[in-house]
Symmetry: C2
Subunit: 579 residues, 2 copies
């Protein structure tokens, strides 16, 4: 019943097989990373015919488990050269799960220059030529409209936007959410891989699909209830994120002196109120219209950290308006206007480019003299050029490392060529260990040490001190690798970190679904095994411990207001992966 | 008497010390590479304060030994991230040697934004503010005029051109030659390092210097005579290069099917006559005026492979008009006009950008749709934008790897992010081993296997076969590392490869100068030790055998006309450095 689908874009053949024995019981990141390590040549060119893309719902995706609708996408990253798992909301994961598709693999590369649509439904997987009207710079919003018109308004859609078509290193894969807006498998440039395979879009229609089978429905329902309560009762997962979105973090990080601003030259700004979650909430509330303070990126989300941000007339501008994007443009690039930031966010979604990579690239471009500091209109104009693409558009779409190189800078906040996000490692030391060591290049979501360092959820560490951070960063990365395999949104962590019953309920749901009996130890082992597999791939791709380092300037430029530097030794950093 | 000078650009202090014991007896590349490995943190940012630049004349520089005027420049490369030795003609090396300066080291970085001139003479080393008229896009030709006017027309000058000022990854260091024209330490972006240290120029005045001391002048003279004869008697070193320049290779490589053309899609073109050395010679001869068919890049050169290429009115356009540049623009980018290629070459010299890296970047940009195929005028216009720099100028100044990334290409001819030069590794297999394994990133001069594969000098190997290539590439790299330490031009190899007496004469000159008794075995050991030191640096910088690979497309795209692919296994490639 469970299917493993391969689409070969060289031969234009589709193969449907049973899930290979070795992948049975795996989902999400565990499945994508094992597959990539097994089948992708680590030294291949990420945009060449030997890379493969794999899409896999999580273990719980498609069920009624809250927040279980995340989709993992895996491949070799053209941005970092490492293995990559990027996950997203939207409805794609749940539809795949309902159709019993454990994985969709895209391999090979057509010889011609046409773009194609891969269409999946109950009975078939077909490869069709893409409508030309959605090619060559057409934005994702319009493309989703055209495809929904053509294939039905309830289909799930995954897209290479203009950035992906042009195979730019920061291209994401954009996904239609339940309302036809945009969610992204954002980091690591997998949209460029999709574009290299000449796949403009994946369309999935789950009409006729039955519910995901549950071995023990009663146990599942009971566990799901406990799990829901754990999320909703928690002040972060149940309240803070719903009220202020992830942007709640602006004031928190600013207060902590860990909000990297003006290309990582200070950890605190004066204009935090202009871009804070509190202001975001007040603005949406005041403007009304299509604005929504709280909204989910996929069906079944009960945390609802997204919003619909409207313009002054109440018309929808953007959603999934995340802290990291607002930080990057508002603090790191110093754009002191939330509306302009919203329009830039919309443009990035429309073009299909990672908003973290691009925002940090913008701030670096400002240091390099390519763009004027804090000039939101200039940035909006420049970002739109990615869809043309002009040379400047290509540079920004290349990501922060490339901007740093062509501007001749040494202050370039990247690890493994991926931009460092919204938490300065000098004043939040735990997250620096994640940036340095994760298999993904700098990525806060790979081990969100902000939790125990700043939010004091799950742990209580002094963010300015090294004590306990190594063990914590290790545990967070292991736990995250496991959660990323379940289809769960990462934010469920807040609800279960200090709530053993909530954590057990998550495991119970998996056990009830599959009729198995995993323990917490098994889950830890799963997380460890995923990281080991990813690290094995990276090693074969040429990465060593030397690449597990932060940019040198963090070591000698103290960050105001605490004036701390990054002071973990190489030996200490290497301890994170000592398991 | 022999001096080791350090200029600290952070403190603006100059220190002159005796040559440290461990560096006594070393010169050129042996000295720069040992120094960089000893003193530069391999994980430092190449444009940060912890990189250092070292300039060192070769062992024989400053003497009357023919062709001994090359200067080695060392540091960590911002282009490749590896150790780098780049060497050049001009008069700088000889003047340093005459002043008894074994090495000039530039370290640190000023806090302000001013640019400086380092002025060296018999008695002093001073740091002066740069005249502003030679900054911010001023071309090297004018800068040399201004500096010669200010400091005297016989001074030696080393320069960061506009590309170096902007710290672009392919910036070279430009050197004034005896006539005030331009020679370059071309590869690896060391001009960006000079720019990062805010050094606009080095000026050296050897007025009052005495001759380089020779321990046994009579033995030296005798050896020098034998050596000269070996060079002049050889058909390549003594005749071919003088008549046609290095551009003699266009027809030879085209005939061999190893002239990579149209971004490495074919190894043979029809328009070879338009860009050949024979045509170059005929054009210069016919035009007369300031044209010179044969000319040396430094005093004492008897090979004289350079030319002065004039315009239709006989006015000088450019010199040092190398095969690799003409190949890159004429064959790889398909520009079918030698005059336009000459103007582009002049523009690259004027801007201070590596002509190999830039020419290959141009061809890659054509494949990526950034520039129209074969359009010389568009390329000239685009290259001139590097001096502004516009976004397109910055992209081209970023080098081939960056062009490949922002164009989303997998056909990107680089190794360790440095462009592959003018000999296709699929049809000249020996040179592919050098590209893959040299410590410098793709570089034909690091082990010129064209010699035994195509020219049949020093060896006779079938270029289409793997037999014997591993041992040959190893021997050539070892020999080259030794020659690069003597101050000798690499082309002396042709004269001594099949002439044991000529080789012995080279060793005899060194022995006579220093009163020592090196043997051929010692010279081999020197070469080996240089490579080992360089590889040790690279390893600590994060490089592994996995980086010693050619781009993947060479493995599966056969190159016409022979339709060979690159078929050395990783294991075979790794054998090159098994010594």
């Amino acid at each position: 019943m469970n299917k493993f689908i391969r689409v070969n874009m060289t031969t234009m053949q589709v193969t449907t097989e049973a899930v290979p024995e070795k992948y049975v019981g795996l989902g999400g990141r565990a499945l994508t990373s094992n597959f990539v390590n097994d089948e992708v040549k680590p030294t291949c060119h990420a945009l060449g015919k030997n890379n493969k893309l794999i899409f896999a719902p999580g273990l719980l995706s498609g069920t009624s488990a809250p927040n279980s609708g995340r989709l993992s996408v895996g491949g070799k990253s053209p941005l970092t050269g490492t293995i990559k798992e990027s996950n997203t909301g939207g409805s794609f994961s749940q539809k795949m799960a309902k159709l019993g598709i454990k994985a969709l693999v895209i391999e090979g590369m057509p010889k011609d220059d046409k773009f194609y649509i891969i269409k999946i439904d109950m009975n078939n997987v077909t490869i069709e030529e893409s409508p030309t009207e959605i090619l060559s710079g057409c934005g994702n919003y319009k493309a989703i409209e055209v495809l929904s018109e053509k294939y039905g308004k309830n289909v799930g859609i995954g897209l290479a936007g203009p950035a992906g078509e042009y195979r730019l290193p920061s291209a994401n894969i954009s996904f239609k959410d339940p309302e036809g807006n945009i969610r992204s498998a954002g980091r690591g440039g997998l949209g460029a891989v999709l574009g290299s395979k000449k796949v403009k879009a994946l369309v999935i229609d789950d009409t006729g699909a039955t519910a995901v089978p549950i071995a023990d429905p009663e146990k599942f329902r009971a566990a799901s209830k406990v799990f829901s309560k754990a999320l909703l009762d928690h002040p972060v997962a149940g309240q803070g994120l719903a009220a202020y979105g992830t942007d709640v973090l602006v004031n928190i990080l600013n207060e902590a002196g860990g909000l990297p601003s003006y290309n990582f030259t200070t950890g605190r700004i004066d204009h935090n109120d202009i871009i804070s979650g509190e202001t975001l909430n007040a603005t949406i509330t005041e403007r009304g219209g299509e604005g929504k303070v709280s909204h989910g990126c996929h069906r079944g989300c009960i945390i609802r950290c997204s919003q619909w941000y409207p313009d002054k007339q109440g018309k929808y501008i953007t959603s999934g308006f995340e802290y990291e994007t607002i930080w990057g443009l508002g603090a790191d690039a110093g754009i002191q206007d939330l509306d302009t930031i919203a329009y830039i966010d919309r443009a990035m979604d429309d073009i299909g480019i990672d908003s973290i990579e691009t925002a940090v690239a913008v701030a670096t471009a400002m240091e390099g003299g390519l763009l004027p500091w804090g000039d939101g209109e200039a940035v909006l104009e420049a970002v739109k050029q990615i869809a043309v693409p002009t040379p400047l558009g290509r540079i920004l779409g290349g990501g922060c490392a490339i901007v740093g190189k062509i501007c001749g800078l040494y202050r370039v906040p990247v690890v493994k060529d991926q931009a460092i996000p919204a938490y300065d490692p000098r004043s939040v030391k735990g997250i620096g260990l994640t940036y340095a060591t994760t298999t993904m290049g700098a990525d806060h979501t790979a081990g969100y040490c902000i939790s125990g360092n700043i939010l004091k959820v799950g742990a209580d560490l002094d963010p300015l001190k090294k004590d306990g951070q190594i063990e914590y960063a290790r545990a967070m990365q292991i736990g995250t690798a496991a959660v990323d395999s379940t289809g769960m949104c990462l934010f469920v962590y807040f609800g279960i970190a200090d709530n053993p019953g909530g954590y057990q309920a998550l495991i119970d749901m998996i056990n009830a679904q599959y009729g198995i009996s995993l323990t917490a130890t098994d889950v830890d082992k799963l997380g460890e095994s995923v990281l080991k597999v990813e690290r094995a791939f990276n090693k074969r791709a040429g990465f060593t411990n030397v690449h597990d380092r932060l940019p040198e300037f963090f070591e000698y430029e103290p960050l105001p207001p605490h004036n701390e530097v990054w002071d973990f030794t190489p030996k200490e950093i290497d301890e994170v992966y000592n398991f």
